[in-house]
């Protein structure tokens, strides 16, 4: 088990050019980041290519990490997710939409940060629970699976403009519920 503190130290050493520390950081985090990228890209080979880009970027940007703002793993997950979404927005074939098993969204598997972030996780889940079921599912499909407005429009049989309106309402409601 690698603690949050360990990851910070490894990232700091990586910023100092310590390749072995960076390798340890990779081994401690790559399965988590790969899980994110694979879920969005749904293609193993493409996801492994993306994962390599992501770690090169993490190496280059290690100096950008600010402790106190987010944990190392959250910072890294954000880089990974951003990269995966950039790729999928350019490439995803529309045909893939139906292959997703929406039931997997019900999973509450908390593989990382579950201890440190339990309060935050509960708070967000509580606020998501305040959204209508389809809106909640929409937010999760977008965030977790990388669905676009057009893909959501097809899945929920609504015009894209309506999806945008629903997303904005849902996001505002979440923001208000989270109190920030």
């Amino acid at each position: 088990m690698t603690t949050t503190r360990d990851l910070e130290n490894l990232l700091k050493l990586s910023f100092n050019g310590d390749r072995d520390a960076f390798e340890q950081l990779y081994h401690a985090t790559s399965a988590k980041l790969f899980g994110i990228v694979l879920r969005i890209l749904r293609n193993r080979a493409q996801s492994e290519d993306a994962l390599q880009d992501i770690y090169v970027r993490i190496w280059q940007k290690a100096g950008d990490f600010e402790s106190g703002r987010a944990s190392v793993i959250t910072w890294m997950a954000t880089i990974a997710r951003n990269r995966a979404i950039d790729i999928v927005r350019r490439q995803r074939p529309e045909a893939d939409i139906d292959e997703v098993d929406v039931d997997t969204l019900a999973s509450t598997d908390t593989v990382f940060e579950e201890v440190a972030r339990a309060g935050e996780v509960r708070r967000l889940e509580h606020c998501l629970g305040g959204l209508e079921d389809d809106r909640q599912q929409m937010v999760k499909l977008a965030y977790l699976e990388g669905w676009s407005r057009a893909e959501l429009a097809e899945r929920f049989a609504q015009p894209v403009g309506t999806i945008k309106t629903w997303l904005h309402r849902s996001l505002r409601q979440l923001k208000e519920c989270l109190g920030s």
Binding site: F15, G17, F22, Y26, V56, G63, R123, Y143, W147, L174
Partner: protein
């Protein structure tokens, strides 16, 4: 709807992931120049990132890190090959190592300062006191390359992919142990199309060697507060030896 609300929703959808490729590119380009947009993105990342707990870990292929490591090792060589002007002031060694120094003052970080620290490293040959700092923005393509000559106490900043947004300018900063945690301005990079050279005669070489350098984006004329106010580009160092 106000501009502020528009921007907040743009940030929200950016983080949610529902913008199309063109819109995402636009946000990626804007966030470095618009502190309020950047702040909104960070706030939405913080709000939504607890959803990351839904992602399950999946092990990638075992040999992947070797590729990552060789790409990291090749980075300095690649920069030397592709950045015009680098070879003019110093030849990068074939097997040069790239190293960065962290542990910046939190004040510098909080100020959004680009961070590059120079230090001694007994393992690396830094034969003649020459260093290169490479400043990446969001991509692998460097935005600025800075050379430092400790003998002459000159730094030269060469733009690579940097562009200046309307009404903005880049400003160079330094943080040293001796001058405290607050960044000191080294002046503006007046013409981003050409190299800028700054004489740092007021700093002794030992001080420079351990200094932190930064480049921030500021309003035209420079930071109004005397401290970095705008978004930063972060970099790392390459030691240079002939």
């Amino acid at each position: 709807m106000t501009d502020h609300e528009d921007k907040d929703m743009l940030a929200a959808e950016y983080v949610l992931g529902t913008l199309d490729a063109r819109q995402r590119d636009a946000v990626n380009a804007r966030r470095g120049n618009e502190p309020d947009l950047e702040a909104a993105i960070i706030a939405w990342e913080s709000r939504l990132s607890p959803l990351n707990t839904h992602y399950e870990a999946v092990a990638p292929s075992a040999n992947l890190f070797a590729n990552i490591r060789s790409r990291i090792d090749a980075e300095g060589i690649e920069i030397a090959r592709t950045v015009p002007g680098i070879a003019d002031f110093a030849a990068l060694k074939r097997k040069l190592a790239i190293w960065r120094l962290g542990a910046l003052g939190s004040a510098a970080i909080a100020a959004g300062l680009l961070i590059t620290v120079f230090t001694s490293d007994p393992v690396l040959p830094v034969a003649d006191g020459k260093f290169v700092a490479v400043f990446h923005r969001d991509d692998t393509q460097p935005a600025f390359v800075m050379s430092v000559d400790l003998d002459t106490r000159e730094v030269t900043i060469r733009p690579v992919e940097a562009t200046v947004p309307e009404g903005k300018t880049y400003q160079l900063w330094i943080v040293t142990d001796e001058t405290g945690p607050q960044p000191q301005s080294l002046g503006l990079l007046e013409n981003v199309a050409n190299p800028t050279t700054k004489q740092l005669g007021q700093f002794d070489p030992a001080m420079l060697r351990k200094a932190t350098f930064g480049i921030s984006l500021e309003p035209a004329g420079g930071s109004p507060t005397g401290l970095p106010t705008g978004p930063a580009i972060h970099g790392h160092l390459i030691p240079v030896a002939h």
